[in-house]
């Protein structure tokens, strides 16, 4: 099978039971994406597939022929951080760091969704989804952080969202 991962072509022959997460971590050595629950409950495994955020533990590799997968390693690197990565460092949007790659990929995907005007559960006016703190919190609630950096995560995302606007 063929995948494009972080811009690089990859040819892999995965077990039909292999999740995208295990493909990344166990077969390709891309351990930036984390396994927190393997049940789609915590969000630590969030990556971007064809630009949209997805729990990579809940989707099988065999479902993604020719898809473009971006992981936290593909967003930026030490010395050349993505603005979201830099904002997480500046605002201390993490502690142990284990949920962090998922939070960052999720935040990048979420800002794209918000930019397209997609509403959320807390959107009062479906025609204008303004990215308030409540909106950010709601849209990021699929990513659990047991260290509970939530207020700092919201600060980091708000800053990046402001720059995007």
């Amino acid at each position: 099978m063929n995948f494009t991962i972080n811009g690089q072509p990859h040819q892999v022959d995965p077990d039909i039971r292999t999740s995208v997460l295990d493909l990344l971590r166990e077969h390709l050595g891309l351990t930036g994406s984390k396994k927190g629950c393997d049940h789609g409950q915590c969000g630590a495994c969030t990556v971007l597939i064809n630009g949209r955020r997805i729990n990579s533990c809940l989707t099988l590799a065999v479902m993604h022929q020719d898809d473009e997968i971006v992981t936290v390693e593909g967003l930026g690197s030490i010395g050349n951080l993505h603005p979201m990565q830099a904002a997480f460092v500046a605002h201390d949007g993490f502690q142990c760091g284990y949920c962090t790659p998922g939070q960052i990929c999720s935040a990048v995907g979420m800002l794209d969704e918000a930019g397209r005007g997609w509403p959320s559960h807390v959107t009062a006016d479906l025609r204008h989804a303004e990215l308030t703190d409540a909106e950010i919190s709601e849209r990021m609630s699929g990513n659990i952080c047991r260290c509970s950096a939530y207020p700092n995560i919201v600060d980091a995302i708000r800053e990046v969202a402001g720059e995007v606007e």
Binding site: G76, I78, V89, F94, G97, Y98, C99, C145, R146, S148
Partner: protein, 745 residues
């Protein structure tokens, strides 16, 4: 102070106060600053390597098998039934050496071993090894195991026989002073309430994981552990090998909160399997296994009694806790730990007993004792304030002790009232409606609550080695860990401040037992213990630099990598020849007996309770804390945010539920065990009051990692009462416990 200074060692036992600190005279200007984490760039790019992420050729994948009965015996495991599955390598168990449960933190012996007898549902009994994770998981699910079931104790009940004969656990199991019964009889106002708290799970985001590799009879285990120094000893004992043949590497730990203090079952299983197969074995617990087979915070039942005069002066305090644990395990949840010293009262009874049950091991989870004990004590104080028709802060002021009310020794530092007063001002406490249920916004009932925070301060023996290289760079190495607490960053700051070098010039090497031993991360002792060890090593090196420059230490200024004295200035690297190094070691001493040491704070919460659905939302929360020197305002604040959020979870949602027929944890995942998510947490505010504690350690810092959870849930519970007039004494305060008592719309 009883220092012993050898050539390259400096050891300090805290027998006397340490009034001066080089952190106050340093001019590098990094200590205390809200600096970003030095390990941040690695963590946000996925470059930080956690236990299960080390790469090995020939790595075999292990999946653990848990028992599907709650009490009984394994009769047989039919390994042949799965060996034929392509890719399966072997099914491995060791009925003698596999560990029944995790070990408690800091112990140096093996935990309970032997897994033929099943003591709780989910106990790890075997590991299936295969060439891939998918195959191992499939075979583990299909592995036939025959059991003999026995009757177990699966439901907590105060009617069950209780174990009264327990050793101390940071606090005596039983302590009595005066005559509480009589004080209750004679008091003008009393409270006598029983609070219950459920079992909880640390639920760190990284599941427990180990990769075991053997070479020449020595084991290297890449594990997710908080205290590698003692964990390596536990592991060696469990395996029956010499302590110096076991090395644990825990460079990054994806959260611990107590659950990774001692070794967990996956470590021994991986080590035994790797030895038998002659290749590296990786074993990662599934999320349900983390809930079932690591460690839980015990449920508690706490009878709170307060006796007071008509003016509100407390004459008697009773805090009687019953918790649960496995047969043979002596850890009890020390819920009364801060009740010993928080308030005055001549007549006191603080006790802890255990009910023996077939639920998974109970042990330390963030702030063992205070986290649930202050739910009891601080809600009872709120009850007393209402009974007296008194402001809860005024009640605490009236009952503020000048000395430890039991030990009759001074407090090392105590800013409880200052934190309450500062918090009251900032939070707008004067706008609180004292009468419950009188503030309303539409269908929401609004209330405010307050609670004190207290967490005993601990110092643990810890060492660190610091080296200065000819290029003026500095290396700090120690078996210390950073579990998200900020160790990498604050230890860098301590070294940079004392040696006067820029942060970027300090290299950190943590989490490896081949370096000097350390206290590890737990009990909020990490920064103070490990930071003091780094401080002492640097103090020794500073003296060496002064000597090399031919001046007294007092005359030496260290800044930006330059050593200056008497108008002369040299790069420190030019003063060290081929390089110098020193090991610093801190040890607890008489100061912890001669002074009661604790961190303090105040929590303020504003909640909205929906009058129709009973849903509680935390709208605002403020924590004001005083914990000695704050080493890094940014990472310290984050620790407090995390603690306060644990408080939200314990007050409103977290409840580990055991099936009453089998003891199985029925909500053994993150969908059903409800930790707070982003939308549950408002923008929390954290304030630190300046404080120094010269009795605690040479860096004058006290613990901060657990203080944030202590009392946080009580402030929310008291706010719910203020909003609704409903006193829920059974945590968590889920909406069903409010619904039938809510006022009619």
């Amino acid at each position: 102070m009883s220092d012993s200074a050898n050539n390259d060692k400096l050891m300090l036992t805290m027998d006397k106060p340490h009034p001066s600190s080089l952190l106050d005279t340093g001019v590098q200007g990094v200590i205390g600053k809200p600096l970003a984490r030095v390990d941040g760039p690695k963590k946000v790019t996925g470059a930080a390597t956690y236990a299960a992420e080390y790469q090995f050729d020939n790595l075999a994948h292990g999946v653990l098998v848990g028992s599907t009965i709650g009490k009984g015996r394994v009769v047989s495991i039919d390994a042949d039934a799965v060996r034929a599955i392509p890719g399966v390598i072997d099914v491995i168990t060791d009925f003698e050496r596999f560990i029944r449960n995790s070990q408690q933190g800091g112990k140096t012996d093996a935990p309970a071993q032997g897994v033929r007898d099943v003591a709780y549902f989910g106990q790890i009994i075997a590991i299936v090894i295969a060439e891939s994770f998918e195959v191992a998981r499939d075979a583990a699910l299909r592995l036939p195991v025959a059991y003999e079931r026995e009757e177990g104790v699966f439901e907590f009940s105060m009617q069950l026989e209780r174990d009264y004969d327990l050793p101390p656990n940071n606090t005596p199991a039983h302590a009595e002073q005066g005559d509480l019964e009589n004080a209750m009889r004679e008091a003008a106002v009393t409270v006598d309430s029983t609070y219950t708290t459920p079992s909880q799970n640390s639920a760190a985001m990284e599941p427990h994981a180990s990769i075991a590799t053997w070479k020449d009879g020595a084991l290297t285990l890449y594990g997710s552990y908080q205290m590698p120094t003692s964990d390596a000893k536990q592991l060696a004992k469990a395996l029956g090998v010499a302590a110096d043949t076991v090395r644990i590497i825990s460079r990054y730990v994806g959260g611990g909160f107590g659950s990774k203090l001692g070794i967990a079952p996956e470590s021994v299983a991986a080590a035994i399997a790797a030895k038998r197969l002659g290749r590296p074995v990786k074993a990662v617990m599934s999320r349900p296994q983390v809930f079932e087979a690591t460690v839980r915070r015990s449920n508690t039942s706490q009878r709170m009694r307060l006796a007071a005069t008509a003016e509100g002066k407390i004459t008697g305090i009773g805090h009687e806790t019953t918790a649960s644990n496995l047969e043979g395990e002596n850890f009890f949840e020390p819920a009364g730990i801060s009740t010993h010293f928080l308030y005055v009262g001549e007549h006191r009874l603080i006790s802890h007993d255990l009910v023996r049950m077939n639920w998974g091991l109970s042990g330390s989870m963030r702030a063992p004792g205070e986290a649930v004990g202050l739910l009891g004590l601080e809600c009872a104080m709120d009850e007393l304030a209402y009974a007296l028709q008194m402001d809860p802060i005024a009640l605490r002021r009236l009952n503020e002790p000048e000395r430890d009310p039991e030990k009759n020794v001074p407090f090392s530092s105590r800013s409880l009232m200052q934190t309450l007063d500062e918090g009251a001002n900032r939070f707008g406490w004067d706008k609180r409606h004292a009468k419950p249920g009188t503030q309303r916004e539409g269908e929401w009932l609004i209330g405010m609550g307050v609670a004190a925070a207290a967490r005993s301060n601990l110092l643990m023996e810890s060492s660190a080695k610091v080296s200065i290289h000819p290029d003026s760079s500095v290396t700090v190495s120690s078996a210390m860990t950073d579990i998200g607490t900020g160790s990498y960053t604050i230890l860098t700051q301590v070294a940079a401040e004392v040696l006067g070098v820029p942060m970027e010039q300090v290299k950190m090497e943590l989490g490896d037992t081949s370096d000097v031993p350390a206290a590890g991360s737990g009990g909020s002792w990490g920064a103070a213990s490990s930071g003091s060890a780094v401080y002492l090593a640097c103090e020794k090196l500073r003296a060496e630099l002064a000597k090399a420059l031919g001046v007294d230490g007092d005359a030496l200024t260290l800044m930006d990598g330059m050593a200056s004295a008497n108008g002369e200035s040299k790069p420190i690297g030019k003063l060290v020849g081929d390089g110098i190094e020193a090991v610093g070691t801190i040890k607890p001493g008489k100061q912890e007996k001669e002074f009661t040491q604790a961190s303090y704070g105040a929590h303020f919460a504003e909640v909205a309770v929906n009058a129709v659905t009973g849903e509680t939302r935390v709208r605002r929360m403020l924590g004001v804390f005083a914990a000695g020197r704050i080493l890094n305002e940014k990472t310290a604040r984050s620790q407090c945010l995390g603690g306060m959020t644990f408080g939200i979870g314990s007050a409103l949602t977290e409840d580990l539920i055991h099936d009453t027929n089998t003891g199985k944890v029925v909500n053994h995942d993150l969908a059903e065990y409800h930790v707070a998510v982003n939308a549950d947490v408002p923008q929390l505010e954290v304030i630190f009051l300046p404080e120094r504690d010269v009795h605690a350690n040479p860096i004058h810092a006290k613990g901060i990692g657990e203080l944030g959870v202590c009392g946080a849930g009580a402030a929310i519970a008291n706010a719910v009462y203020n909003a609704t007039g409903i006193r829920v004494r059974d945590f968590p305060m889920t909406l069903d416990k409010l619904l039938d008592q809510l006022p009619v719309m």
